[in-house]
Each structure stands twice: as C-alpha cells, then as structure tokens.
Amino acid sequence: MGSAVTHAPAMEDLTRDSEPRHGLAKPRPSAALKRRRRRDNLAGYLFMSPWIAGFLLLTAGPMAASLYFAFTDYNLFDAPRWIGLDNFSEMFGDPRWRHSVRVTLWYVVVGTPIKLIAALGVALLLAQKRRGQAFYRAAFYAPSLIGASVSVAIVWKAIFSDDAVVDRTQKLFGIDVGGWTGDPDMIIYSLVALTVWQFGAPMVIFLAGLKQVPRELYEAADVDGAGKLRQFWNITLPMISPVLFFNVLLETIHSFQIFSSAYIVGGGAGGNACGPADGSMVYTCYLYVQGFENSRMGLASAMAWMLLVAVALVTAVLFWSQKRWVHYEEGGR
C-alpha cells in the first residue's frame, strides 16, 4: 500500500485488497498453514463479533422490520396491520409530503453547491503558505463542529429574525423583505446559510487534496505559458477530482438528512413543527411529525424508505458519473 505521498482516492479501492501480503504462503498448503488459516478465521470473527451483532441487531434487522412496517398501519399500540401500498399512495397524494420533498430538494440543490464552492474557494486561498494559514484553517473549521448543535440553531433563529442584524443589513441595501425565519419562503435560505457557514469540513478535505498535487505540474505549465485559470482547470481540478467526488457524495447525502437545525430554527413541536406555513418542513421533519407526533409508524417507515431510495439513487448516479470526471492516479497504490 502507498507511501505518504501517494495520491489515492478513498472511495475507489475500498473493497479490493492488495492480496499477496503474506509471502509465507505460496506452494502447497501445509498442515501448519491450514491451522493458521483456521485460527485466522476464528480470530477474525471473534474480533468482528461486536460489529456483527450490531449489524444484525441495529442495522439489518431494523431495516427488514422497517420494510415490513412500510406496508402496514402501525400506531405502536396495536399490532401492525397489513395494508399493502396504501401508505405509499397516501404519501404521494399528500400535498404536505410533496411540499416537504420540494423544500428538501431545494435545500440540497442550492445549499450543497454553494457550500462546496465556498469550501474549494477558501481552500485555494489557504493553500498558499502564508503567515496565519494554520490559524485561519482552524478558525474556519470550527463552525463544522458546533453547527449541528441546538445552541447554534437558536443563535441562527435570532440573527435571521425580524429587525435583527441580517434584516437591518439588507435594509441598508434597500431590500425590505423582513427577517428570514418568519417568512415561509425565506426561512429555507437561513438554513442554507447555516450549512454554508459550515464549509470548513469539506474545506479541510480539499486542502489535504491540494497539498498532494505535485508542484512540478504547475512549474511545467508555467514554462509552457499556461495562465493560472487554465492551470486550475487543467491541473488542479482533475488532480483533486477524487476529493471533490468524496465531498460531493458526503455533503449531498448529508444534506438530505438535515433535521435538528430545521426543527429548531423552524420552531419545533406542535402544530407548526417546521417553520411558518411549513417553510422549513424538510423531509425528516415531516417524517418525525408523522412517526412520533401522529404515531403513524407505518407511514413514517414508508417515508424513510423513500428517502433511502432517493439517497441510493443519488449515490448510484454519482458513482456512475465518476468514470467521466474523476481521475484516479494510475498505479498509485
């Protein structure tokens, strides 16, 4: 496996292994070797046993149960009653569900690119080794650690409310739309702002990728007289494309699952669980309302499976597309 300078992708080679590792075992399997293999199998499964138990009890089992619940009417108190596809037809016919899909898609489609562009832009800025670089990197990363907390959501709600700093600032520019968190159409943008504020995590990953681009490539391009923009397009971007892919994949999947900040910025429990006129009713908020406030566990399970299908589709499309735009270093490992 590679040395420290190897530029290698994370998502490509996860399952494969560099096989010829134990040089000891080549010709015919001796009795000693067989014994060692048996011991290794036993040890492997012993070490794995917590994970295997967790996978069966907390992942695979619940997934199977959830799939079953999706086709039942289940309120936690009476036994689940099989109702076929009724949950799905109710879901698709429910305007509130369709609204939550639109809000979530909008959040993903607007928020993720802005966040990643900000992350890449700032990473390019910080890639220049200047005094204070480490300090800025740490400071920019900090919001990613606290961004998911209830505290920050409360602060956000205040900053974006009527007459607070964002409202006053936009009034200076003659924009009089009021605070964002009280406006059904604008509240989603306060959540977009909240996710963009946390650009530090993808930025750190971009920075690590930028550090691995061989300097000679830029020197050669300088000699050839290629401008900085061309260098960015033809050297930097292809060289960091594995990291870009990783960031796009993780950030997109993550955005689909936004809950806490929408729930708190939107106001939380009760009739309007997520924002004025459902303005911040993201998918998981509605799932929470249906499952835990209305005790419709079957319907909520069906919703969860739709989310899984959506995320799986996006993941599949991204993996399929990576052949076209992600460049993995040959023989880097």
Partner: protein, 297 residues
C-alpha cells in the same frame, strides 16, 4: 511560493513584476482571510455579547457588546430550567459522551483490526457491508430501532443511545481506524506473530499503541457528536431529569423563549463551551483526522 490557482492574472512576469505583485497579493490574501473570518466568527461573538445584554436588547440592538453589561442572564441559570439544576443536564450529557467514547474506541478498534490485519473468509464482503452502512440514512433505522427499544422497555434509559456505540455501528470510525492500521509497518506484527504472539496480544500491545492519533481523533469526534446529538435524546428521553444539555436547552426555548431571552442566549453559550474547549485543545487532531478521511495513504 507564488500565488497558485487563485490568482487569475497571467503569470508571464519578470522578477521585478513578480515582486511588485507579491506585496498587494499578500495584502489581498490577508484581507480576504480576515473578511471570511469576520463572517465566520460573527455568530459566536454575537452570542457572547448577547449573553450580557438585557433580553429586549438582544435581537434589536446592532451593537455587539452592550454599553453596560449585565450578568443576570448567567446568575439566572443557577435557578435551573423547570426546577432542574443545569448541572443535571451537564452530568447527563457528560455521562453519555464519555460512555460513547469508551464504546467507540473499544468496538471500532477491534473491528478495524480484523479488517486491517486478519485474513479471514468473508472479510471483503463484510467490509463492503460496513462501507454500505456509512452511506445509509439514519432515518431508515429510526423507527424500527425505536420500536425495538420500546419493546425491550428501554425508553427513558440511556441504553438506546449507547448500545450502538459498543457494537461498532459508527462505520466512519471503523473506516478511519482501518485506514490508519493498514499503513502501519507490517513487519512489526509479522515479527510478533513469528515470536508466537496471538492476535489479541498484537492488537493490544502493538497496534493499539501505534494507533494513538486515530484513537484520539475518534474519541474527540465521538465526544462532540454525542454532546451535540439532538434527535436521539429527543426520541428516547422523556423525563426532564434525564435530559441532556441539548434537550434541556430546547425545553428552555419552548418554555421561556419570550420571557427570558437573555437566559436562553447565556445557556446556549454555556452549552457550547465543552465543544469549544475540546476544539481549542485538540484542533490539530480534529483537522488532521478530517483531512485523512478523504484521502488514503
């Protein structure tokens, strides 16, 4: 080093021109960084300043810090929330966070050792499954896990929030540790095997000590994630004296939002302090851990 990639002006330049360009370039760099820093830090400074203001001045006033700061927002916190002292929430959160750290370190390192160091039948299949769970939306498991724990009579206990941590369900940390262990020199554990060391000895005395950086990174991330977690406690805990800081804060918001804005802002800041302290103490590990998660080798 010359400005790379961000500087879009053509690079065809003599040394003198380069020199002339360097100073403004450096200035622009610092101005740009400072501008971003201002935006990034604004909410944090806002909450610090706000916690010393009268409730009615917090949202309306644009001054970051009040002319005459008050401390009553903080003294008010000693009364607790809904008759429960703040320290109860902090102890609950701390218990969960420390319990999570112990569980993650043990279970994920055992699993990672098996993936990275033992050749056993079915390893690749299990590894694929593990990576699959990394991409699985948590919400699919939310309802069936709730039903499971409810049937086991574990609502209002910390078991649902901790069990997964002891069963290595957080694939991200397994992945992080596998990456780290694969890059350890193989000669060490092979020599140990020839000396007759079993896998557990190798894991405990050789691999774990060498994995310290990965373990520290995982521990800090686990602590912070557990501290920030909102959805888990929201679903599983319903007695206020078992609430975590996040839930206590949410309860505060629901009860007092209009009456005691200042107390709420002060409490928000206090709730963030452990995370900020961890960040200041360990930012190197956090950033390096984050960086390696996207890269291999």
């Amino acid at each position: 080093m010359s400005a790379q990639a961000t500087d879009v002006t053509p690079a065809r330049s003599t040394r003198a021109a380069a020199l002339r360009r360097r100073l403004p370039g450096s200035l622009a760099w610092h101005l740009g960084s400072l501008a971003i820093l201002t935006v990034i830090l604004y909410p944090v400074v806002w909450v610090i300043g706000g916690s010393f203001k009268e409730s009615e001045d917090i949202v309306g006033s644009l001054d970051l810090f009040p002319a005459d700061p008050i401390t009553s927002n903080y003294t008010r916190l000693t009364e607790g929330i809904a008759d429960i002292p703040i320290s109860t929430f902090f102890m609950n959160s701390l218990l969960l966070a420390v319990g999570s750290v112990v569980g993650i370190l043990l279970s994920c390192s055992l699993t990672a050792y098996a993936f990275a160091k033992i050749r056993f039948a079915g390893r690749n299949l299990l590894f694929t499954l593990m990576i699959g769970t990394l991409l699985l939306p948590y919400h699919v498991l939310l309802i069936p896990q709730y039903v499971l724990f409810r049937n086991m009579d574990m609502i209002n206990t910390y078991t649902p929030l901790l069990l997964g941590k002891y069963l290595a369900t957080e694939a991200f940390f397994v992945f992080l540790m596998v990456q780290f262990m694969r890059n350890l020199p193989k000669e060490l554990d092979e020599a140990a095997r020839l000396d007759g060391c079993g896998h557990f000895r190798i894991y405990w005395s050789i691999v774990l000590p060498l994995c310290r950086p990965a373990l520290i990174t995982s521990a800090i991330f686990t602590f912070i994630n557990s501290w920030n977690d909102f959805m888990g406690p929201l679903i599983y805990l319903n007695e206020p004296d078992k609430y975590t800081v996040s839930l206590g804060l949410k309860m505060f918001v629901d009860q007092e939002a209009l009456a005691d804005y200042g107390g709420m802002i002060a409490m928000s800041l206090v709730a963030l302090l452990p995370v900020l302290a961890f960040f200041l103490a360990f930012q190197r590990y956090l950033i390096d851990g984050m960086a390696t998660s996207g890269l291999k080798g």
